[in-house]
Subunit: 165 residues, 2 copies
DNA sequence: GCGTCTGGATTGACGTGTCAATTCCTTGCC
DNA sequence: GGCAAGGAATTGACACGTCAATCCAGACGC
């Protein structure tokens, strides 16, 4: 008997699982991002913003509401909205009813871009993630993910509508 | 009976698993990066480079060998080495025996930084990932990851030594 | 009215990543 | 010798993220 189970750093086998996990997730992220980019000229950040706006009433959200919805820091969102506004995907105007509020409004061209990107993107998610896993593997991912989310204090299950990326 | 299993885009439940998976992996990455940064002033990129150099014979690697070892594109590595060199973590010198080869050499200060960062980082991996999962969940992750790696044509299992990040 | 506090949003600096040139040396062909 | 081909590494331009200011308009106390 060794003290293996009380050590404070991972064993080699554990490290192997960790490294494979994080490398794989990163590879998935980057493959999907590259595909989305080449197929529709959108980054995954663009996609998240466009999705949220598409589903919002009047295709409009307060900047702060948008940040909360997609879980971004404010400054990140500001920078990103600036870039998207330059490309004509959305526009910003200060909203009357709230003190420092800014309304972010989806443009027609932004809505088009999202429509064009959405289906191919979801197809890619299915091909590279869903179809790679059988039912039991998918269930295993769900279980492990839930445990990790708890450890990280991330909200679990039942969040807003979807579809999603 | 519906045609659910032949549709080309994911179902809502599948999308939920996907979104949780990718969000969780991203959260893990960013927590660990923040911890590593604040505890030892290193980014995860720095860490990968320092780890590879630490284990190399003579604490030295050809730039191209280093790129292959950690799986980075050359230009990414060049930019990163430039920044690390400015900080004194390593130095570069053109190596005599190979035509355009550049030797990347770990400095004492770089070795110190890696030693200082390594244990806390591994501890963090254990806390946030390993300890969040029981044996069966960990096994589930390993199985699902292997399936995903196959789909993505990533090398599986049995790669170089380790420890690792 | 005046100062201060607060919270929403933006900005600037800088590290990081990717893509498309570009540089530089070596090798091989004539 | 002269020159195209090719591989190793770098560079520049630009998108993306984070952190630490900053800006600015109301709210509150006096």
């Amino acid at each position: 008997m060794s003290d293996e189970r009380h050590r404070s750093t991972p064993t080699r086998a554990e490290l192997r699982v960790w490294r494979d996990y994080i490398e794989t997730a990163e590879a998935l992220r980057s493959r999907l991002a590259a595909r989305l980019q080449s197929e529709s000229g959108l980054s995954t950040g663009d996609y998240q913003v466009l999705l949220a706006l598409s589903e919002a009433a009047g295709r409009t959200l307060r900047s702060s509401a948008l940040a909360a919805l997609i879980g971004w820091e404010r400054s990140r969102l500001s920078h990103h909205l600036g870039r998207m506004e330059r490309r004509g995907l959305l526009r910003r105007e200060s909203c009357a009813d709230e003190p420092h509020g800014v309304d972010v409004i989806l443009t027609e061209s932004g809505a088009d871009a999202f429509r064009a990107g959405s289906v191919p993107h979801l197809r890619a998610v299915k091909e590279l993630f869903i179809d790679a896993l059988d039912d039991s593997a998918l269930a295993g991912v769900a279980v492990a993910t839930a445990a990790l989310r708890e450890r990280l204090d991330l909200p679990s299950g039942a969040r807003p509508p979807l579809p999603e990326a």
